[in-house]
């Protein structure tokens, strides 16, 4: 009933729907009251007065229409023929560069280059890996090769030699 009542009251319901609503209303006092209230409500809503556009409405609208930018073609956006030529040349050049065939190296050349780069990388890595050890004093002081070096003669060493004799 909810969706049909409004349509019935405004006279837009189809004949079959209208008859169905009328049949329901004849047996339902609640809906009958609601229908009467809706009719009264619609009459009351008609008391809302109409307002009218201000006298300047049309003039303001015409001014807004006149301020609209005219539709322009693509080439009209170009400020000068020189710029248009430059843009065209740039587009053609870009297209030509992107469509030009690229030089592709043979697989053997590529594999040789890869090998060379691997060797260089290993060397670099080895040096970097040993850096902390070379900077460690304990490691260097206990390094065998350093202990075999002749001890420089000092005063304390000479006294010790005399005592042993």
């Amino acid at each position: 009933m909810e969706g049909k009542l409004v349509e019935y009251l405004d006279g837009r319901a189809r004949p079959a729907e209208r008859r169905a609503v009328e049949a329901h209303l004849s047996g339902c006092a609640t809906c009958r009251t609601r229908a009467e209230e809706f009719r009264a409500l619609w009459t009351a809503l008609e008391d809302l007065p109409e307002i009218f556009p201000s006298p300047s409405f049309d003039a303001s609208l015409r001014a807004r229409i006149a301020a609209e930018p005219a539709r322009r073609g693509f080439w009209e956006w170009m400020p000068s023929p020189r710029l248009a030529f430059a843009v065209s040349a740039l587009v053609i050049l870009s297209a030509w560069i992107s469509s030009a065939p690229r030089v592709i190296k043979s697989p053997t050349v590529i594999s040789r280059a890869v090998q060379e780069s691997k060797v260089t990388a290993e060397k670099d890595f080895g040096m970097i890996r040993d850096l902390p050890e070379l900077e460690n004093f304990d490691v260097i002081s206990k390094f065998d090769a350093l202990s075999e070096l002749p001890v420089p003669p000092t005063a304390s060493n000479e006294e010790m030699k005399k005592e042993t004799r």
């Binding site: 909810e2 969706g3 049909k4 009542l5 409004v6 349509e7 405004d10 837009r12 009251t33 009467e36 209230e37 809706f38 009264a40 409500l41 619609w42 009459t43 009351a44 809503l45 008391d47 809302l48 007065p49 109409e50 307002i51 009218f52 556009p53 201000s54 409405f57 049309d58 303001s60 609208l61 807004r64 229409i65 609209e68 539709r71």
Partner: protein, 198 residues
């Protein structure tokens, strides 16, 4: 023989500015009223109505008569009104409008009630009724408000209103019932008097 709105719009598309003038003359008052009742501010309503015509004019080259002209026009108007209502830019103006409604001064001037009532007392009664109705309509949720305005005041067909509000016809009928039910409660003093009298 008078040209239909669609024919007028097709003539505008073909470059006939006078046809646009005819559409403007025909629809400026209904549009301003619809928008005023949506946004409850005459200045904003006029601005939005001009925006509707501006958009119609801008779209003239792409116009294709797939629906009634009024459906298209009120769809633009409804979207603009809903955006305006939701837009915080107009919040300040709405607050000032609410304040004037409480005092009932500027609102009465804006409504421009026709001078039907001879006495001052009858004029005041008519104005207070109008304000009560306006307040009740404005208290509806935006979509219900638009549905009532398009149904009751613009008398658009159900299929047109459904297309404007982008819902099904059955959903629209339920929406309208709920809106009128709210109005019936809010305007009970006006409604009950009429029912008792009848």
């Amino acid at each position: 023989m008078a040209r239909t709105d669609v024919q007028l719009m097709l003539d505008v598309k073909a470059g006939d500015e006078k046809s646009f003038e005819l559409l403007l003359r025909k629809y400026r008052t209904p549009l301003v009223n619809f928008l005023y009742r949506m946004v409850r501010n005459t200045a904003i309503a006029e601005d939005l109505a001009q925006e509707v015509f501006l958009r119609v004019y801008r779209a003239r080259q792409e116009y294709a008569p797939s629906a009634k002209f009024t459906t298209w026009m009120f769809r633009i108007a409804t979207n603009l009104a809903l955006n305006s209502v939701r837009d915080n830019r107009h919040r300040q103006m709405e607050i000032s409008m609410d304040q004037t409604i409480d005092t009932g001064e500027d609102e009465i001037q804006a409504l421009e009630v026709p001078d039907r009532a001879p006495s001052v007392e009858q004029k005041l009664v008519a104005r207070s009724r109008a304000e009560l109705i306006m307040k009740a309509i404005h208290s509806l949720p935006e979509k219900q408000r638009a549905a009532v305005l398009l149904h009751k005041y613009q008398e658009l067909d159900y299929d047109e209103i459904a297309r404007v509000l982008e819902c099904s016809e059955s959903a629209l009928k339920s929406l309208l019932f709920r809106a009128y039910e709210t109005l019936r409660v809010q305007l009970a003093p006006l409604v009950n008097n009429s029912v008792k009298v009848s």
